[in-house]
């Protein structure tokens, strides 16, 4: 079993992707033996009507009755009335919130972000925070989005919320020492999509508790096969491999 915690639907803003039709994406995920994919919509990066975005995501996921696609709602706490978007996610039985602070122009010290974490904790929702969606060196000149600094997540007022947190695409820009601190001290999870380097998973499991590492592909923006090939490049003990592939995510968010 493989749970991919970092999958997206719909269109990337600056190019068409080979798998940006959901049916084609599902075929590829199936071929890679991915049994569950946590999906948010790329529409949420620039659209302001996030209730419509999240409703489309939920409806799209329901199109695939095997339960492969699990919806994640995009919330922007910098927008007025974001609380209604959150309530809508709840009504849609969405239990994963995906935040893109860089694209939505707030940082992790903002009061609204803290309020969002408090509400998510109350509803037992997982909050995924995208640290990066694109290498700044190749961004469109009109879409230069800075990486998110995750260090504020170590603040006591954040950890006091008790909110379950996961960082997506963090490993390209977050030093391993800080990642280790966030994982160990604040219990924050990391996905593997932007992990690089020779036998990267061997290095990562030496730096972070394996219980905080989750399989993530960032499909379809990234080629899905990149994530699975990383498992071939590193030699991992079977229990660690199983934890990363499925058990860690199942512990956070069991299937209903």
């Amino acid at each position: 079993m493989i749970t991919d915690v970092n999958v997206w639907l719909s269109r990337w803003p600056t190019r068409r992707l080979p798998l940006d039709e959901t049916a084609a994406l599902v075929d590829t995920l199936n071929s890679l033996q991915i049994t569950e994919a946590w999906c948010a919509s790329l529409d949420g990066l620039l659209h302001r009507d996030l209730r419509a975005v999240n409703r489309r995501t939920a409806a799209e996921c329901r199109q695939y009755p095997t339960g492969l696609l699990r919806p994640a709602g995009v919330i922007n706490p910098a927008l007025p009335g974001w609380q209604a978007d959150l309530e809508d996610c709840r009504e849609l039985q969405i239990s994963i919130l995906r935040l893109t602070p860089g694209w939505h122009s707030y940082d992790l010290t903002s009061p609204e972000f803290l309020q969002l974490l408090q509400a998510a904790a109350q509803y037992r929702m997982l909050v995924q925070i995208c640290v990066r969606l694109e290498d700044p060196r190749i961004q469109h000149t009109l879409l230069q989005i800075p990486d998110v600094n995750p260090r504020p997540l170590l603040a006591p007022e954040i950890t006091a919320t008790g909110c379950s947190l996961m960082l997506l695409n963090a490993l390209a820009s977050t030093p391993l020492e800080l990642a280790g601190q966030l994982a160990t001290t604040a219990g924050i999870g990391f996905d593997t999509a932007m992990l690089e380097g020779l036998a990267g998973l061997e290095r990562l499991t030496a730096a972070l508790p394996p219980s905080r590492i989750h399989f993530g592909s960032y499909s379809p923006v990234f080629v899905p096969h990149a994530a699975t090939l990383k498992l071939q490049e590193s030699e991992l003990p079977m229990p660690v491999r199983s934890a990363i592939l499925h058990e860690n995510s199942a512990a956070i968010l069991p299937r209903n």
Partner: protein, 260 residues
């Protein structure tokens, strides 16, 4: 058959080039990569003086010394030191086992000091790898763009040139080097973005597209996936993964009597 165009010793665990090379091969074996091309030593030096160039090339020569059946090497040169680079080219390629040239970011490849180096490398049938980037965030002062490489390719139509990283901003890099048949593109060194290999094949043709990883900064896995996960026919993937590089290297390998 997989041949990896773009490997570095830097950041590979190991106390010596021999240990680093053994580790590279160990991990390459897991990915079924038959041959590696290695260039530059440790630590990376963006603007090396002649002594540092020689030291870095010595590391590569040492790393290859037990692995000639699995790896090739390119000599690291700099147009900032024209005569020293010509000397290194003679030592490592004309009289030594290396089969190509690596040019990085000391000076842009538009500089005229490079002409004598390219001319001699072409005489030797050496493949010339020029790092290129077109960074939205701004290039280093000596960092070549794909347009710089296009100008070099126009001046040296007989040289076998490789556009490193496909220009980084690959959609722009591919458009820029498209008219120059003596320029191939290296897919390595960027995130495994969907569509890069497909666009490269469409724009410059399958025979000008090369798999390279830029390991150890990157992983073999992410860079291989750009090809193996692409919406391309299997023969095209095979060409990109190794056959194209083998064809590019064949003249110099034959000149050296190397069977591969």
């Amino acid at each position: 058959m997989i041949w990896d165009l773009h490997c570095h010793l830097n950041s590979v665990p190991g106390r010596t080039p021999d240990e680093q090379m053994a580790r590279l091969i160990e991990v390459a074996d897991r990915m079924h990569i038959e041959r590696l091309v290695v260039f530059m030593g440790s630590p990376f030096s963006q603007d090396p003086d002649p002594a540092e160039l020689r030291r870095q090339n010595d590391q590569v020569l040492q790393a290859l010394s037990h692995w000639h059946h699995r790896a090739f090497g390119f000599v690291y040169l700099s147009p900032a030191h024209e005569q020293a680079s010509l000397d290194e080219l003679e030592r490592c390629v004309a009289s030594g086992p290396l089969v190509g040239v690596k040019l990085w970011v000391a000076r842009r490849c538009t500089e005229s000091q490079l002409d004598s180096i390219i001319h001699r490398a072409a005489e030797l049938d050496a493949v010339i790898y020029q790092h290129t980037w077109l960074k939205t965030t701004g290039n280093l002062p000596g960092e070549s763009t794909p347009a710089d490489l296009a100008a070099l390719a126009a001046r040296h139509p007989k040289a076998r040139l490789i556009c490193g990283h496909t220009g980084g901003n690959w959609e722009l890099g591919l458009r820029t080097i498209r008219p120059f048949p003596n320029v191939s593109v290296d897919l390595g060194g960027g995130d495994p973005l969907s569509g890069i290999a497909e666009m490269a094949v469409r724009e410059v043709g399958a025979d000008r597209v090369l798999y390279g990883s830029d390991v150890a900064g990157r992983s073999f896995a992410t860079q291989l996936a750009k090809v193996t996960g692409a919406m391309l026919d299997e023969p095209v993937k095979q060409a990109i993964l190794g056959l194209n590089l083998k064809r590019l290297l064949t003249p110099i390998l034959q000149r050296k009597g190397v069977r591969a």
